[in-house]
Amino acid sequence: MTEKTVWPLFEVFIRSRQGLSHVHAGSLHAADAKMALENARDVFTRRGEGSSIWVVPSQTITASAPENKGELYDPADSKIYRHPTFYDVPDDVEFI
């Protein structure tokens, strides 16, 4: 196979129905975005699984590194005041 026939990789995101977010469904190779979209429809939505599709060139995605998990997410552990359960409210007070 010659170098120039390698098609770039696209990530596919699908909105399963109106009102929901797009969710990552998988990936596929295509010559361009239009072909990626057409192929994504054929591969991922043959049974009405989607009402909208996004395709994104995989190499344009910037991802956090798993090694940085600690420094990125651990600080949230000490900020329990960000959760509603942190606050004391008398049992007989309603709708709060």
Partner: protein, 320 residues
């Protein structure tokens, strides 16, 4: 693929403990090289099976006996192409390229499921494949939905959802023949006679001889042993054959009331290894067909790339 931290006993122990506690592994996480290698081999082999598996049934699309059967069969074969794609994509997250995998299939170094090296001689074989081969595949695949490697597990869930239609359409087709004329019934029985043992062998060699089993179980890549899965298939299928009024071609088949399981006679493992080593009835034909399809498609792939480049050039020109 990001550069991985080097292997060391502590890292290895942490990984083993993580998967043993049913933790999942995602593409950018650290993983032992052997775990990565095993998964690449298994997932790509699985993908190849889906792609080669399109051939035996594809062979009957043009001769399906009704429009209803034709659209069903086309939908099924198209699903298998999709399954191949989901799996190739999952394998790519481990750092192997689609082209490398394709090359290994075409040059014969990668394997695919031996079941697809058997011929589809009659229309009833299409029913037998859906009922038995997809039936066995489902039993094999359900435990992999809980595989420790996230992308493989997710691909498997999508596949399993689609497989159930495959098995049911096959059973229905067999039912139509089994309850049809005497000649149709005989055709269904003949298909069962030819596909039964190869389907039973789809679960691989007996537990004692299975090479990678123990490590794969510990890593939560494999969940149930070959013999456990095979037993499940036999128990399930015996009852289904009864419903069809067809006879399983095994004089030793008997019900063990102590265990509650059906027991089968000896499996011809020589046949299994002969086919695995490339000497089954259709190995050469399947590979030749795949290679031709790949070569015939070169100009299409090149043309698509040239067209995309031209479109890009045009948009940049307009923007300038």
């Amino acid at each position: 693929m990001p550069a991985r931290e080097p292997d060391c006993p502590e890292r290895r122990a942490a990984f083993d403990a993580h998967v043993a506690a049913e933790g999942k592994v995602e593409p950018r996480d650290w993983m032992p090289a052997a775990y990565q290698k095993t998964l690449i081999r298994q997932i790509s082999q699985h993908a190849h099976s889906e792609i080669i598996g399109m051939q035996p049934e594809g062979n009957w699309i043009s001769r399906a006996p009704s429009l209803r059967r034709k659209v069903i069969l086309m939908a099924k074969v198209q699903d298998e192409a999709g399954h191949g794609l989901y799996l190739y994509s999952a394998a790519e997250t481990l750092g192997v390229s689609r082209d490398e995998m394709e090359e290994k299939l075409l040059d014969g170094t990668a394997k695919y499921s031996s079941i697809f090296n058997y011929p589809t001689l009659t229309w009833a074989d299409v029913g037998a494949i859906g009922w038995l081969v997809d039936g066995a595949a489902i039993i094999n695949q359900i435990p992999i939905c809980r595989c420790s490697y996230g992308p493989y597990a997710r691909a498997m869930m999508r596949i399993c959802k689609e497989e159930s239609f495959h098995q049911r359409q096959g059973f229905e087709l067999m039912m139509a023949l089994a309850k049809g004329t005497q000649a149709q019934h005989a055709m269904a029985q003949d298909a069962l006679n030819r596909w039964w043992w190869p389907a039973v062998m789809m679960f691989g060699p007996p537990d004692g001889e299975s090479v990678h089993s123990r490590q794969n179980m510990a890593w939560r890549i494999k969940r149930k042993s070959n013999d456990e899965l095979r037993q499940k298939f036999v128990d399930m299928t015996v009852k289904q054959a009864e419903a069809l009024g067809l006879e399983i071609p095994d004089p030793d088949l008997s019900f063990n009331s102590d265990t509650g399981h059906w027991e089968i006679g000896p499996i011809d493992w020589d046949e299994f290894w002969t086919v695995v080593k490339g000497h089954g009835p259709c190995n050469r034909q399947r590979m030749a067909h795949r290679r031709n399809a790949h070569e015939d498609g070169v100009w299409v792939r090149e043309a698509a790339v040239a067209f995309a480049a031209k479109q890009r050039a045009r948009t940049t020109q307009q923007a300038a």
